[in-house]
Amino acid sequence: MSLVNLHQVHKYYGDLHVLKGIDLDIKAGEVISIIGRSGSGKSTLLRCINGLEEYQEGGITVDGNEVTSEDIQVRRLALSVGMIFQNFNLFPHMTVGENVMLAPTIVLKKSKSEAEQIARAMLEKVGLAEKFDSYPEKLSGGQQQRVAIARALAMSPKVLLCDEITSALDPELVGEVLKVLEQLAKEGITLVLVTHEMNFARDVGSRVVFMHEGKVWEEGDSKTLLSDPRTDELKQFIGAVL
């Protein structure tokens, strides 16, 4: 039973053909790492899955529902698809707690005390329970990204999309974020990551998707694929990043 399904998805920016017929099937509980050079369409693919970008041909379904970029549809999707960004995008005028409580309160219409309970539990999960009343500005990049994860988790999504979420972090802060992801993977949350962290992709990920020139160039079990790439492009890519 697939949770996310992409069928022959094409995406154009004007004349630029960014995604050239993507087929991808993601099952519940999988940890998918999407790798590839910049400009290969990884982020665009991710953003199509939750309706942030339109696609022109093909079809995408999440949990059986078709994805379009219609406003209403994006809001419905938000209930099953969470997303974390490279630049955290925490709301600067809200405390950590308020950031996490916002969507449960005004989207899920939970009571304040219920939302607070959820927020505290999620912050506990990412190891930041004591930062509930701090403002994002006072946190390190790694801490901010963990709050962003807690904020996404508070909506209990079925899939969590991660768009290069460690790329803006100082090297010594990457580990704490990956550790949280690893724990989520163990709990069985479906993760789709656009990432440059090859070690993480190999050790935690269940499947790797290598994108090249807007196509899924090669995909397969993460350990096999990364240690024994079949195509020259992937060999080159792995050689370049490792």
Partner: protein, 220 residues
Amino acid sequence: MLYFSDLLQYSDVFFSGLMTTVELTVLTTILGVALGTACATTRQYGNKASQRAVTVYVELIRNTPFIVQLFFIFFGLPALGMRLSPWEASMIALTINLGAYSTEIIRAGLGSISKGQIEAAKVLGLTFRQTLTRVIFVPAFEKIYPALTSQCIIVMLGSAVISQISVEDLTYAANLVQSRNFRAFESYLVTALLYLGLSILLRFAFNTLGKHLFTYRATR
């Protein structure tokens, strides 16, 4: 010799003029900023046609003298069957004027909010209206708050012009008093000081309000 004591018998005239100016300032500040917020939001996020309409309005007002706008509303509109009292005409002219200038200022604030903030709200399932009120407005207004409040004070000072259509504001009081007792120097000096005091008071009020609205900055 200066005769400030000659003004004392007119203190109630000054006071009532001052009150009219304060009343119009408070009212037009609220209405003007509301108008500016609506127009800035439209210009930043609205469709092409409504964006163009806002641009025309803003440029029309910013490139014509306030006194002409006021005269047009008070003396010109009756030709179209719209007869307004001096007070009403002034209120509308001041609001429209502040609305145009604050549109430009507020739009700069909205423009400073990154696309990422809006996307983050979107993927959490917020509607656009919720995104505006919960996510965009507070940080946007914080960025342009000093410019916006300065503009409100400029409009308060510019309101002196409405004495020209015989609204009995502070400047009207000054004109009246000096025409009665011929103490022009004293009348206008006192009036200037009253405007100055009003500006300082207004600035203080805006600062207090700002601290209340943007509490999160105080905890930095």
